[in-house]
Every structure is written in structure tokens, then in C-alpha cells.
């Protein structure tokens, strides 16, 4: 089966437009964007791009639906105090406010009293400037990023094992492997194009095996030879057990270990302590021992094995250890640095990797240099000619918002991310921002949950408008190119940052184009890079230095490190460590002893279920972009709580009804579903919905603010929660071209439709007068309106449709149960300029009513008998008198008005028959 739709290659004749890179997941697919004459954007896969070879997933292919200006932030705005309305201001006023605000806080409280919180959706150039400003000029490392939330454990694991944040392999290795192990990754939904590459190669190489390790039975499992539904958080047991099994079954590569690694004894000893017994591991992981053995045996038997992992591994209080427990197995078997093998971190954001390369996290410096390495600090300071270098790591994401609430950080600039939705204990983020002296937000969207707390909002360029580079999960640097003009007064993030830096009096921000920023970044990567300088850094873009505008525009996707060949060509690198040389000072990789730990907060009697969070197929992050696409809204229109049916029974909730999910930190409401993939004791809630898209669906508010001690990455995949019935008096939905007034609605979710907004509603207070209530909600003056109603008052069922100029304007359906009609047919009516009569008849039913047989014009109105019915019956049954017709069809049997007409019909028939 093929659980994820992809889209076909373009014919060569259709090739045109701008080549750029998809702004969603870390696969980094090439996109060909063409702006039509009417302003619509056609999207196709870039067939020349190595990541996707022309294919796009459904999110990528719907990008054209997300570039309109509806809801965009187009002008700088400011508000005096929290709670005041935002007012439009000039760029000068806004930039001055930010620069002065930051400078005055720094002067009064020192550089660590300000912070930047940025995003894996920034381009490398934006990220580079933000990092340079913070670490080299303000002199603090208080710059962290939402990448902290998704792959900092992978970074930390890489650094511990390899000496730097290095992804050893490339996508092609997924196709060359004989065994692909996907750990904590719903690849089918979250990295669809990679999954399709695996699926396609398996068609030609059916012997290739796929193992999925995930507590949930996800779409990815559909293709798996083996699914190990391990207990949430037990990954280290599983991989320690594997390490032990491999060691005991002669799968270790002794010469590789000897020549290229350190630390095996300690790691193996730790692994053996708890995980030498396969049965014990199976029990801890709640797996079938036979399945576990099968996996271990396959792993031992296949030289070419790729272990790809994502947030299921990273987002854990033991995330870094999970990463290292996986890497340990590859080091033990020497399966790294060669084709078709290696541990593979698959990132979730388009430029998480680029952010890592410029050091855009609180514990990194720049160009893969370390903050706590004095030589590195000196290197960067000299290169930047920086006046005030950060000397120590800054505050990581969760610590940063704690420090804001504690008043230690007084000014924060949030760029291209939405922490009020996405951080754990997200209500704490609200509290922190509400107390913060100066909150600056750069974004492309006017209304976000975070923006509600901002004093200054700055309009940034969005995808299709901005220009620069991103790096995918396989270290491939690709260009994002602009094909749309800057809307309103929006500016590039790097530009805004530079303008603030200049206003703060800093030199070193005099850039006029993105390629200049990229060039500086590239040059820094090779600055004093080599054994001669006592720092041999793998991240090196020497081959990409000195690109002018034309060369930058022409830049083809390339995997770093990039060297310039003698012929002047830029040569990338598909795989690292082919020579067995790692980035630690001694050139060796390190085994890390990973003692398994359970998730920090265990379920208990108050909060008996464990919450897992993640993405759905067709949405991305907080939906500011994907939420605009009607196409993407169809798959999963609203937030949900996926749980086992027996748990639902136990906690008194019902599929299709709403449930409240609460933890010690917060609560939310979503619809219960039984997706079939959830084990008892667990629930799954998607991360996307927020205060703009739903009344109460921020799962971040529930997530425990627990982090991995090494990486600082939060434990998103395991929070003890309680699920309870969310009792409402009624359920309903609205489809409307406008925006209804939802003040009286207890629970709502907004869903983008094609030419309408859809709202799923539920209310706690009973509605007395449905008609008046509906009219208020939809803002309709019923008396003058074309307003259709259906009401079954005692059953609590009410429906209304508002038609304007024969076009559907809005409809509202209410029921005491969530058993509402399908929205699909009604939704389709919104694209019609005029309702047909047949449509109109079905409006209040919510489905088309097929016409019955054509009975012809009514003859007998007492019994509604049509002419065709009478004639048919007369012919077929040989009726010749009115009395016979009456006996047969009742027609004419009541008032008799139609008797003359029936007589006439009978005469006509008999004449015809005779003729």
C-alpha cells in the first residue's frame, strides 16, 4: 500500500519558473514555482534536485495555496503596554524602539538580560546575522531556537560520539541499505519524500527490510517488515540490548573499534548491566521477545544498515543517550562512513541544519565551533572583529523563558517561531511574555498566539519572497529563491537584524544582499580551519567562498563540506568518516555509556495516561502556512486525542465527542478518535493547533517542562495526563464566507476551506432560541435574508443556511450529539457562483437529494399523482376507466377535481393505442 500521495513528474515542456526549496520538513525538496498571470502560483517538484528528483508531498505541492496575503503582517506595529492595541508605525520608529530597548536593557542589566529566540525556519543568512549580533556584539549567548525542541539531542549525540555535529550519510544510503530501521519517526507522514524513496527502492529490491520502532502503529508501519511497538521511552534499553547482542554474537568489527573508537568497555558494561538478557529487555520494552530477537538478528546479519531517527528519539529526557545508544551499535559494527549504512538523524525543519552550522543555539558558537573552546572563541572573534564575545553558553529555550518570567531576561526578540504554542508548559511562556519589559516579534503572520504578547511586531518576508540558503538533513545546501515581490513593507530577517544592529552602533552588519552574508558565513567556515591551526573542522564551505550575486543565484544544491577542485568546481561530500577519522581531537569516535532512564514523570493515579505528541500528515508546525490551504485541511481537519478504545471506555469518553486532556501543567480540549495505532495507557495529540485555529487545543500547555540534561531538548513524547469527558450541550459546525462571532461558543476549531471558513463548534450552555442565536452568530438580519431553517426542537437539532444572491454565504448545523452531516458536499457549494435548484433542496440536509423518478405534472393533487404515473399505470395495467385508475393509484378518489383530466388522459391513451 501507498499511504502517502506524491505527485508526478512534470513533462519537460512544462519546465519554467523559479527553482527553490520547500519550506517544510528537513528533507529539503527542490520546488519549481511559477507565478501565473493571475498571481496564482503553480508548484511542481524540481526534477533536477537530488533530494526529491521532482516529487513533492501533499504539503509541498499545496504551497501555492499558502502564499496569499490573507492574514499577513505587512507593516511594523507597536503597542505601548501589554493589552493595548497594536498601532502601525514606520520602520524607523520600530527599529529605533528595538535598538534602544535592547541597548538600554543591556546598559542597565548587562548583555545576558536580552535574548533572541529564533527558528529552524530562518534561512542560514538570517540565522548567521542573529547569531553574530548576539554572540559577537551584544556579548551574550542568549540566542536559542525552536530547533532546541526537535534535534538538539541529535546534535549533542553527534558531538559526543563524533566530536562535532556531523550527519555521516546521505539519503541515497537509505536506498543502498539492506536493512532500514526507522526509530521514533513517522517518516511516511513527516518526511514523505524520503519514505517514498524507500518504498520505491523496495519494489526493485524486495529483499531489503524495513523495521519501524515506534510506540504507535503509524502509517509508516504499513510498509514495515517488522514493527516494534516499544513502550514509550524505552529506546535505550532496546539499543543497549542490541549492543550487547551484537557483541555477544560476533558482530563487532574489532579492527574498526581498535583503530577508530574509544570507550567501548564502559559503554558495553553499562549496556550489559541491565540489557544483556533479551527476555528482560523485551519485558521492559513491552515487546514480543521473538520480534525483538528477529530485529537483533536482522541487525546483526545485515552489514548495510541505516538507523534513521527523528523526534521519537530526540524529544526525551534521555534523548541524547538514545541517540548515542543507536550510534554505539553502528560504531561497534563499524557500519559508518560507507555506502548504505550509518546512524541518520532526520530533521524536522527546513533549516535546522543551517541553524546548527551558523551556531544558532545557546551552547554553540558559529561554523561548528564551540563556545567553551577558547581557541574557537578567538577564531570567531578575530574573524568578526567582534567587540564583545560571549564567553559561556547562554540560556536554552526552556531556561530562557523561565529567566524571562523570573525577570532576569528583560527583552526578547522572537523571530519566525511561535513559542506560546510550541514550547512545553506553554502557559508558562504566556506568563513570562506578559511580564517581559520588551517583547519583539518578527513574523509573516499578523495574528499569532505569541504576537498577542509582543510590544513591537516586525513584518518579515515569507517563503517565495526571501532569498538565501537552507541545509537539509543530508547536509545539502540549497537555495531558497524569491519569486514573489516583498509584500507591504516586509523585509528580510537578516536585513531587519542588521538594521537593528547598526542602530545599536555595531559595525560589521553592513550587508546589502543575502549572498554577502552567505559569503561571510562560508569564509568563516574555512577561517583558520585545518591541522595547521590546531582545529580541523569538518564543516567547511571553502568551495563556496567568494560567490558573487550571479554565482550565488546559480548555486546548485551541494552537500558540505565543499571544497573547490583544481578545476574550480565546487565539490561536495556525500558521506563523512570514510577515512575513519572523526572530529574529536584524537580523530576517534567515542562510545558513550548510556544507562537507561525512564521518562522523568511516570504516569500515576492522578494522571494515568502518557501523552505522546507529533505531527499529522498534512499540517506543519503551528499551521500559519499549511492552515491556509483548503487542500491540506481535508486530511485531518481538527485536533484530536487518539487513544485505545478500552481506555476511552475506562475514562468515560466517546469517539467523536470532545474530551479534556489535562496534566499538572495545563489542559486542552480535542476530539476523541480511535486511530487504531495507540497502545493502552498512551494517547497521542497533534502539535499543530493553537489559539488562532482553535479555542483550546494547544497541546504545548500540557507538556511537562522536562529536558534532557545534555541537550536541553524537552520531553514532548511523554507527559502524564488525564483524559475526561468534556460534556457539552451541543455540537455543531459552521461553513461561512465570513468570520462568525464565536464569543458564546465553548469550543471551536477553525478550518480553512476553499472560499469559506469552517468552524467545528461545541457549546456548554443550551441554546434557547436557535434561530436568533444562529442569526447573531452569523451576523444575519433574518427578516430580510434568504434564510433557510430546519428544526427538530425537542431533539435539539437546528440547521440554517444563509443564501445571498443565489450563492451560499453560510450554513450552521447543530445537534446534541456529534452526529452531524458530512461537510463535504456543503463545502463544495462555496465554489459555485450560483446554487442550482437541486443544490438548494439539499442544503438543509447537507447532502444532495437525488430526484425521484419524473412523475410528470401533478394531476391529482389530493394524492400527488402525476400525469406520467397515471399514463404508465394505464398502459401497463390496461386501465380504461377513472374508477380503475382510482383503485390503482388513488388518483381522483378524494375531491374528484381531477376526474375530468384523468378521463381525458385515458381517452388520449386509448386513441394512441388504437392508432
Amino acid at each position: 500500500m501507498d499511504p502517502v500521495p506524491t505527485f508526478p513528474l512534470l513533462a519537460a515542456s512544462q519546465l519554467a519558473g523559479t527553482l527553490t526549496t520547500c519550506p517544510y520538513c528537513g528533507v529539503g525538496c527542490g520546488v519549481r514555482a511559477t507565478v501565473r498571470g493571475d498571481g496564482q502560483v503553480d508548484i511542481a517538484g524540481d526534477e533536477t534536485h537530488a533530494s526529491n528528483a521532482g516529487r513533492l508531498c501533499v504539503k509541498g505541492s499545496a504551497l501555492g495555496e499558502t502564499v496569499d496575503l490573507d492574514g499577513r503582517l505587512l507593516h511594523p506595529q507597536m503597542r505601548a503596554r501589554h493589552g493595548d492595541a497594536l498601532q502601525r508605525v514606520s520602520w524607523d520608529a520600530a527599529l529605533d524602539k528595538v535598538a534602544l530597548g535592547f541597548r538600554s536593557v543591556i546598559e542597565q542589566h548587562g548583555p545576558d538580560a536580552v535574548a533572541l529566540y529564533v527558528s529552524g525556519q530562518l534561512l542560514t543568512e538570517d540565522y548567521y546575522i542573529a547569531n553574530k549580533l548576539m554572540k559577537g556584539y551584544i556579548g551574550s549567548a542568549n540566542i536559542d531556537t525552536n530547533s532546541r525542541l526537535c534535534m538538539s539531542s541529535a546534535v549533542a549525540g553527534h558531538k559526543r560520539a563524533f566530536g562535532a555535529d556531523l550527519v555521516p550519510l546521505c539519503y541515497e544510503d537509505l536506498e543502498l541499505a539492506d536493512l532500514v530501521v526507522l526509530v521514533g519517526s513517522n517518516t511516511a507522514w513527516c518526511h514523505p519524500i524520503l519514505f517514498q524513496r524507500i518504498a520505491r527502492i523496495r519494489e526493485t529490491r524486495p529483499q531489503m527490510k524495513l523495521v519501524v520502532i515506534d510506540p504507535r502503529r503509524t502509517a509508516t508501519c504499513e510498509l514495515a517488515d517488522l514493527h516494534l511497538p516499544l513502550k514509550a521511552g524505552s529506546d535505550v534499553w532496546l539499543f543497549n540490548g542490541l549492543l550487547s547482542f551484537l557483541a555477544r554474537h560476533d558482530a563487532a568489527d574489532g579492527s574498526f573499534i581498535e583503530a577508530h573508537t574509544n570507550g567501548l568497555e564502559a559503554a558495553l558494561e553499562t549496556a550489559e548491566a541491565e540489557c544483556a538478557d533479551l527476555a528482560a529487555v523485551a519485558k521492559t520494552c513491552k515487546l514480543d521477545p521473538q520480534d525483538l530477537l528477529t530485529f537483533y538478528e536482522w541487525f546483526a546479519a545485515n552489514e548495510k544498515v541505516v538507523t534513521a531517527f527523528s523526534q521519537g528519539v530526540n524529544q526525551s529526557s534521555s534523548g541524547t543517550d538514545k541517540v548515542n545508544s543507536i550510534i554505539n551499535c553502528h560504531l561497534l559494527t563499524g557500519r559508518i562512513g560507507k555506502e548504505g549504512m550509518g546512524p541518520f538523524s532526520i530533521t524536522g525543519q527546513p533549516n535546522a541544519m543551517g541553524g546548527r552550522e551558523v551556531g544558532g543555539m545557546a551552547n554553540m558558537l558559529a561554523a561548528h565551533m564551540d563556545l567553551d573552546n577558547p581557541r574557537h572563541r578567538q577564531t570567531v572573534q578575530d574573524f568578526w572583529q567582534a567587540p564583545r564575545m560571549a564567553q559561556r553558553p547562554g540560556l536554552k529555550a526552556l531556561d530562557l523563558f523561565q529567566a524571562i518570567e523570573a525577570g532576569q531576561v528583560k527583552a526578547v526578540w522572537i523571530i519566525a517561531t511561535n513559542p506560546v504554542v510550541s514550547l512545553p508548559d506553554a502557559d508558562q511562556v504566556q506568563r513570562a511574555l506578559a511580564k517581559c519589559e520588551l517583547v519583539v516579534m518578527s513574523d509573516i503572520i499578523e495574528k499569532t498566539d505569541t504576537g498577542a504578547f509582543a510590544h513591537v511586531v516586525l513584518p518579515a518576508l515569507g517563503w517565495g519572497e526571501k532569498d538565501g540558503t537552507v541545509t537539509s538533513s543530508e547536509r545539502r545546501i540549497s537555495r531558497q529563491r524569491a519569486f514573489l515581490p516583498a509584500p507591504g513593507e516586509a523585509r528580510a530577517d537578516w536585513q531587519i537584524l542588521c538594521q537593528v544592529a547598526q542602530r545599536m552602533g555595531y559595525a560589521g552588519f553592513d550587508f546589502s544582499a543575502a549572498h554577502q552574508v552567505f559569503d561571510e558565513h562560508a569564509r568563516l567556515s574555512s577561517f583558520r580551519n585545518g591541522d595547521a591551526f590546531g582545529q580541523r573542522r569538518v564543516f567547511n564551505l571553502a568551495g563556496l567562498s567568494g560567490l558573487d550575486q550571479a554565482a550565488f543565484d546559480a548555486l546548485q544544491p551541494v552537500q558540505w563540506p565543499v571544497v573547490a577542485t583544481s578545476a574550480g568546481e565546487k565539490q561536495g561530500t556525500a558521506r563523512l568518516f570514510a577515512d575513519g577519522r572523526f572530529a574529536h581531537a584524537d580523530g576517534k569516535a567515542r562510545f558513550i555509556a548510556t544507562a537507561p532512564r525512564a521518562p522523568q514523570h511516570a504516569a500515576d493515579s492522578d494522571y494515568p495516561l502518557s501523552l505522546n505528541t507529533g505531527r499529522v500528515r498534512d499540517q506543519w508546525h503551528t499551521m500559519t502556512r499549511t492552515g491556509k490551504s483548503p487542500k491540506l485541511a481535508d486530511h485531518v481537519p481538527e485536533s484530536f486525542v487518539d487513544m485505545h478504545p478500552q481506555d476511552a471506555l475506562l475514562y468515560g469518553v466517546r469517539e467523536g465527542a470532545l474530551a479534556r486532556v489535562s496534566s499538572r501543567w495545563g489542559s486542552m480540549v480535542a476530539r476523541v478518535q480511535h486511530g487504531g495505532g495507540i497502545a493502552r495507557g498512551s494517547i497521542f495529540v497533534p502539535i499543530h493547533w493553537n489559539g488562532q485555529s482553535a479555542s483550546d487545543a494547544r497541546v504545548g500547555a500540557l507538556v511537562n517542562p522536562v529536558v534532557d540534561p545534555v541537550s536541553g531538548e524537552p520531553e514532548f513524547k511523554h507527559t502524564p495526563v488525564l483524559v475526561e469527558e468534556f460534556r457539552v450541550a451541543w455540537y455543531g459546525f459552521v461553513l461561512s464566507r465570513g468570520r462568525p462571532v464565536l464569543d458564546d461558543v465553548t469550543h471551536w476549531t477553525r478550518i480553512q476551506g476553499r472560499r469559506f471558513n469552517r468552524y467545528e463548534l461545541a457549546g456548554r450552555s443550551p441554546i434557547a432560541d436557535h434561530g436568533a442565536w444562529a442569526a447573531d452568530l452569523l451576523g444575519v438580519a433574518i427578516a430580510d435574508a434568504d434564510w433557510l431553517e430546519y428544526q427538530d426542537a425537542s431533539a435539539g437539532i437546528y440547521r440554517a443556511v444563509h443564501v445571498v444572491d443565489d450563492r451560499i454565504e453560510a450554513c450552521l448545523f447543530l445537534s446534541p450529539r456529534p452526529d452531524l452531516p458530512s461537510r463535504a458536499w456543503l463545502a463544495g457549494l462555496f465554489v459555485k457562483e450560483q446554487l442550482e435548484d437541486a443544490d438548494r433542496i439539499g442544503l438543509l440536509l447537507g447532502q444532495p437529494i437525488a430526484k425521484g423518478a419524473d412523475t410528470g405534472p401533478t394531476v391529482c393533487s389530493c394524492f400527488s399523482v402525476g400525469r406520467n404515473t397515471i399514463c404508465d399505470a394505464a398502459r401497463k395495467q390496461g386501465l380504461t376507466t377513472v374508477a380503475q385508475v382510482t383503485a390503482c393509484l388513488k388518483a381522483g378518489g378524494n375531491c374528484g377535481s381531477c376526474v375530468p383530466e384523468i378521463k381525458k388522459l385515458l381517452t388520449e391513451i386509448s386513441i394512441v393505442e388504437v392508432v
Partner: protein, 442 residues
């Protein structure tokens, strides 16, 4: 049947007494030519209307030769379909269209018809009926089908020329004549019959005002929502309405000229049509000492307190109910015909009834108990723009009433379910969307 003696248009009757205007007599002693061998029992029928003649037809089906049948009718016509007086007035039907039984039919069946010669007395002791023309006829069985009389509101001026009812062909002729020479018509009574009369007069070119004492038209058949739609539709056709209007006086010297209301206002009137209800026509029965309450009391076999005398139609009272619609009267005719034929196993059972307004371009259907009340539930659908309103009244798992406006094609289907006490629980959510859909879903 609720509201039996109301303003329903679908009236049947036997002859009724008219104070004036009885035209030429029509005697048809057709059967006299037939030599009778053995004397057959005599059946006298008083009333040549729809109820009486349908009963005779039912009788003839079962026992064509049982009786010597003699029919007395007050009107000087053969038997016609009174329901079609409205289309006749409106010009949609001709006299030929509305005639039910031709003189030939009476002749074929050996029936003696005295048309235009009402019966003036019944001597139950001697089993003799006496006509105004002096005919005395001895009967073995007597069928009373005397129908009902229009109720003329006894306001001052109600006897003025130009004040009429809407009951028979004579009334239609009066109205048609008035329409040719006069302009202002006032119809008093906004029920089914009044609206049909008003519509007919409008079609004949008159300015018509309908005066109704209630605040809502056809309140016996329609709820207020439907009545509002109906009023709007009829206003668009050109009718004017005065609701909550209490007639105080009909003004005129030689001829009616205006109608005055209790609030003092006046409107001009060249013709006043009273359609304020009917009264069962029971004078003859009362004179004969038959037990009457609101009407002639009959049992389940349509027999009166005198075993030789039966009664059908609008003049009877069965289990406290009186009747105005055609459907229950067809049922009565069937039962009564069977008993007269001596095949007396049938019992008359009251059923829910349905009505339709016969105004071209206005689709209206109501059936059963559409008022509802305690323990009943409503399903309502409104689409005012398309002029559609539908309401079903549900009690427990059954439909008990329906009001349909604008889209009436499912009326008979609902009516069938009302009469059949069909359990609609499973259909409830789709019921109002019609039979086609429910059949699809089933």
C-alpha cells in the same frame, strides 16, 4: 375528527333550504315507465348532493335491484361536485366538468329524481315524506343527506341584496354576475372556502378584500408560519386582507354598498360573500323528532335513532364529531351503502383528514393534528425565499399532523403514515426531506 364543522371548503351536502331564489323545478319520473312485477322496498333519499348520491352508488354496487329509489333535491340540477365550485368560479372548470351524475345515470339505475323539490316533512309513524310540490312518498328506508347551511353572520344588513354565501351553483352565478358589473368584493371569513371564493372573484376581475376575525388565515388548517406565507402569496396575487377585523354592519339601502367594522372604519362593497362557517342542516330531522345534538346523531352504521332512517354527510354527528371534508364522507357512504344493502358488517371509523387549498399557484396541504400541544414534538423546515414551509407534528414514534406550504408533494405520504400510525423513529432525521430521500436511505 378535529374541527369537523369548520370552514372547510370540501363540503358535501344534500339539498338545503333556501329562503329565496329556487328556480325551475325538474321532475324526472323516469322510473315510472318501468313495469314492476313484485313490489320492491322503497328507499327515499333526501338530498341530491355528493354524500347522498355516493351512498346510492355504493348501495347499487352491492345490491343494484334491492330498492325502488326516489331522490329529492332542493337544487334544480343533477348531482354535481360541490368542491369544484371554486374552480368553476375561477373559470378553471365548466359546468359540464363539475356534473357527477347525468339524468341518464338516474334513468339507467331506475332512480326517480325530484330536482328542485325539497322535502318539507317526514311522518315517521306513517313512513311518508312530503315534498314542497306535494309529492307524498311512502318509504321502507329513508336516507337523510341534507348537508349543511352556510352560516350568515347576523349583523345589521346581512339580508341586503348582494350579501351571499358560497355554497352552490346559484351563488357562483350571483358572483359571476356581480363581477361583470361591479368592482368591490368583500369576503368575510379567511378560511379555506373564503380564500377560494376571494381568489375566484379576483380572477373574475374584482377588487377583493378578505375580512377575517382572527389574526391568522385558515387557522383551523395552518399554523401561523404557514399562514404568513399564504397571506404574502395571496397578497402578491392581488388580494387584500383585513385581519383581526370584526364586522359591525353591512351598509346599503337597496343593495350593499360598504362594510363597517367595530373600530368604525369602512370599506366599499358591491358584493359581500359570507364564508364564516356552516351549520348542519337538521331542521327536517328535528321536526320529525329524530335525536339530534349539533347534528343528526348516528351510530357506527350511520343509522339514526330511528332504525329505518340513515343519515350521511355534513348533517350527521358521529361520536361527537361533525364533518366537512370529503374523505370521511366517502367512508360514511361506503358503510351506509353496505347497511342499506343488507350487507351490514362494516363500521364507520373516523380517520385523520387532510386538506388542500385549491388556489392556482398556492400549494398548501395540512393533515391530522397539526396544532400539537402537550407531548408532541415539531419538525420544521423553512425556506421563505422559495416559499416553502413544512411542519410535522410527532407524538412518540408517530406523525400525527402535517402542514406543508409551497412543496406539498410529500403530503399524501405523510398522511398515509399518520393514518397507518407508521413508526417513524428511524426516519425522523430525514423525514422532512421527503419520501424520495427516505426511500433512497432505506
Amino acid at each position: 375528527m378535529p374541527g369537523g364543522a369548520g370552514t372547510f371548503r370540501e363540503r358535501l351536502s344534500g339539498p338545503h333550504q333556501r329562503g329565496q331564489g329556487v328556480g325551475s323545478r325538474m321532475h324526472m319520473n323516469i322510473a315510472n315507465d318501468t313495469p314492476s312485477t313484485a313490489r320492491k322496498p322503497a328507499l327515499a333519499v333526501i338530498g341530491n348532493g355528493m354524500a347522498g348520491m355516493r351512498t346510492v352508488e355504493e348501495l347499487l354496487k352491492l345490491a343494484p335491484d334491492l330498492y325502488d329509489i326516489t331522490v329529492f333535491g332542493a337544487e334544480p340540477h343533477g348531482n354535481y361536485n360541490r368542491i369544484l365550485l371554486s374552480p368553476l368560479l375561477a373559470g378553471d372548470k365548466s359546468m359540464d366538468d363539475i356534473m357527477l351524475n347525468t339524468p341518464e345515470w338516474y334513468r339507467q339505475h331506475g332512480i326517480t329524481l325530484h330536482a328542485g323539490d325539497p322535502v318539507t316533512g317526514i311522518d315517521r309513524q306513517r313512513r311518508i315524506v312530503r315534498s314542497r310540490a306535494g309529492i307524498e312518498l311512502r318509504y321502507d328506508r329513508l336516507l337523510l343527506a341534507t348537508g349543511s347551511k352556510p352560516f350568515i353572520i347576523p349583523v345589521p344588513g346581512h339580508q341586503l341584496p348582494g350579501v351571499i354565501a358560497f355554497r352552490d351553483i346559484q351563488d357562483v352565478e350571483t358572483m359571476l354576475a356581480a363581477a361583470r358589473s361591479h368592482r368591490h368584493a368583500v369576503v368575510i371569513g379567511g378560511g379555506l372556502l373564503g380564500l377560494e371564493a376571494a381568489n375566484g372573484l379576483l380572477r373574475q376581475g374584482m377588487d377583493v378584500t378578505v375580512v377575517h376575525v382572527m389574526d391568522s388565515l385558515m387557522e383551523r388548517q395552518l399554523d401561523k408560519s404557514a399562514a404568513v406565507l399564504l397571506k404574502k402569496a395571496l397578497e402578491q396575487k392581488g388580494l387584500r386582507f383585513l385581519l383581526n377585523a370584526q364586522t359591525a354592519e353591512i351598509i346599503g339601502a337597496e343593495q350593499v354598498t360598504a362594510v363597517r367594522f367595530k373600530d368604525g372604519t369602512e370599506i366599499p362593497a358591491d358584493l359581500v360573500v359570507m364564508t364564516a362557517g356552516v351549520r348542519p342542516n337538521i331542521e327536517l330531522a328535528q321536526q320529525a323528532g329524530l335525536h339530534c345534538e349539533r347534528a343528526i346523531v348516528v351510530d357506527d352504521t350511520l343509522q339514526t335513532y330511528d332504525p329505518r332512517i340513515y343519515a350521511v354527510g355534513e348533517c350527521v354527528q358521529h361520536r361527537m364529531a361533525t364533518f366537512g371534508l370529503v374523505a370521511p364522507i366517502w367512508d360514511q357512504a361506503r358503510v351506509c351503502g353496505a347497511h342499506l344493502a343488507g350487507a351490514g358488517h362494516r363500521r364507520y371509523v373516523q380517520q385523520a383528514t387532510a386538506t388542500k387549498l385549491k388556489v392556482t399557484g398556492v400549494d398548501l396541504y395540512s393533515a391530522g393534528d397539526f396544532i400539537g400541544g402537550e407531548g408532541s414534538e415539531d419538525l420544521v423546515l423553512r425556506d421563505p425565499r422559495r416559499g416553502i414551509y413544512k411542519r410535522l407534528v410527532i407524538k412518540g414514534p408517530h406523525i400525527v399532523g402535517a402542514v406543508l406550504y409551497g412543496d406539498v408533494k410529500d403530503g399524501p405520504w405523510y398522511f398515509e403514515m399518520i393514518q397507518g400510525r407508521t413508526d417513524i423513529s428511524a426516519l425522523r432525521s430525514q423525514l422532512l426531506f421527503g419520501q424520495a430521500l427516505c426511500a433512497q436511505a432505506a
